[in-house]
């Protein structure tokens, strides 16, 4: 049984590795490709918003991608994974039609599982017993600090990010 399981899991790994090699992605904003996962490295090309890329590898905040004849590292946040194109920003209907926000009772059961919906939440009655259960798991700040220290987590001095320019792209996902 064990000897069978090992090749089976290897096969799974190979399949996963192969699909990772060919993972499609879409460029979300005009950006540069670098020769290394660092903005200090040599520029290896550039990609335009909407371009298709193949994602080859990931390292920290960087993805190694091929786009046409260029291969290089691009910022993780400049690419979306998956074959959905620009998604909410561009091809709204491809994905937008499926996750309709007009009719919460319309349950699209692709996964065979029913998600939470408006009605579940609207009808919900206060459950004091569950809330009391929640309280029993609460961590004190000292306990949380100790747990962080166990894993060598140290606070880092990171400045707040600047707020963006007012013009955001409109989204067919609604502005609710």
């Amino acid at each position: 049984m064990k000897t069978f399981l090992i090749p089976a899991s290897l096969l799974v790994l190979c399949v996963a590795a192969a699909s990772a090699n060919a993972a499609p992605g879409t460029v979300l904003r005009n950006d540069k490709l670098y020769s290394q996962p660092s903005a200090a490295s040599k520029q290896a090309g550039s990609v335009a918003k909407g371009a298709s890329v193949n994602i080859l590898a990931k390292q920290g905040g960087w993805l190694r991608v091929t786009s046409g004849k260029s291969t290089g590292w691009i910022r993780l946040l400049s690419v979306r994974a998956g074959a959905g194109g620009l998604g909410g920003a561009g091809l709204g209907d491809v994905v937008g039609a499926a996750t309709t926000r007009s009719d919460p009772s319309r349950v699209v059961a692709v996964a065979g599982l029913r998600g939470l919906n408006d009605e579940d939440l609207k009808q919900a009655r206060f459950n004091g017993a569950e809330l009391a259960k929640l309280n029993t798991w609460q961590a004190t700040p000292a306990q949380a600090r100790g747990f962080a220290a166990q894993a060598g987590l140290k606070t880092a001095d990171v400045a707040a990010l600047p707020a963006p320019q007012p013009a955001q792209t409109s989204s067919p996902w609604g502005d609710n």
Partner: protein
């Protein structure tokens, strides 16, 4: 009842006109105080089962809550509101019965929350027993992640990123702002609300049906802001800041027709839009951050 409707009718009128609201302010405040105090008398043992806060200290003049329609909510009021919303949400979906999991999420969550700068609230974290893929925040530091989302996570940095986004909603008081805008109108429609054991009827009247406020969602810019602020909280806690982006990448790759994400997409911009907005804000600002992702310590849920 008649008085309540009359008070609320006046409040609606005054709400629609800024000048009129000024004139009616005092009258309205008195009326609402009276209403709220009356409501309070029907719920004398509200906090009896709550062991966390000592009863005399947590006692709040219900009138304050009425005033909060016009002023700022105090931390106590915020907690009261959040407690009611959290209790209602738990009425729709229970917590996963796994002490180790829940304790782990609280330890990680509280550490991230300590980087938020808000020290006036007690944070609570819970994993909800549903395959739905989502996370929720209620005022006062009540944060929930669904089992469906938790099971997609690969390491502690991703958990920290998700929790940090929700923590940011709390510290930025996003839901309180929505509540304030809609509370008067909502209260009118809620003249007859459910009564349940331990429920805070005064607050229930403010928040509307059940945990409906959780399904209403926030402005998309509030979501972008929570991503932007949350990623920094996670980085300050010592985590790899790419945890939240990695989760968004994963969600972006999910099939669109998936009932597990329908509520998520009703209340949040598409992950691709969130990645794009976050990318604009982050640019090279986090290049120097070296955090941990701790895959080995991540608690795997079967």
């Amino acid at each position: 009842m008649k008085l309540k409707l009359m008070v609320l009718a006046i409040s609606l009128v005054s709400f629609s006109g800024a000048a009129a609201a000024f004139d009616f302010g005092k009258l309205l405040e008195e009326g609402i105080n009276q209403e709220l105090n009356k409501g309070r008398q029907t719920q004398p043992a509200r906090d009896a089962s709550q062991s966390a806060a000592p009863q005399p200290k947590s006692k709040i003049d219900a009138g304050q809550l009425g005033f909060a329609l016009f002023g700022d909510y105090s931390p106590e009021e915020e907690t009261r509101i959040g407690r009611q919303i959290a209790g209602n949400l738990l009425g729709a979906v229970p917590l996963v019965r796994d002490d180790k999991l829940q304790r782990y999420v609280n330890l990680v969550g509280d550490w991230v929350a300590q980087q938020s700068g808000r020290k006036d609230i007690t944070w609570h974290f819970g994993v909800l027993d549903t395959e739905d893929i989502n996370a929720f925040a209620a005022p006062g530091g009540y944060i929930f992640v669904t089992k469906g989302l938790y099971q997609r996570l690969n390491n502690e940095a991703e958990l920290a990123g998700v929790l940090a986004h929700e923590i940011a909603h709390v510290t930025l008081k996003h839901h309180l702002k929505v509540l304030k805008q809609s509370s008067l109108i909502g209260a009118l429609g809620q003249a007859a609300s459910h009564k349940a054991k331990d429920s805070d009827q005064v607050v229930q009247n403010l928040i509307g049906n059940g945990a409906e406020i959780m399904a209403r969602g926030l402005d998309k810019n509030a979501e972008f802001e929570a991503d932007r602020v949350g990623i920094v909280f996670a980085a300050r806690a010592g985590y790899d800041p790419w945890g939240l982006p990695d989760v968004l990448q994963d969600l972006a790759g999910l099939p669109a027709k998936d009932s597990r994400t329908s509520l998520l997409y009703k209340t949040h911009p598409h992950p691709a839009d969130r990645l794009a907005a976050l990318g604009e804000a982050v640019d090279g600002h986090l290049d120097a951050v070296q955090g941990k992702d701790l895959p080995g310590r991540f608690y795997h849920l079967r």
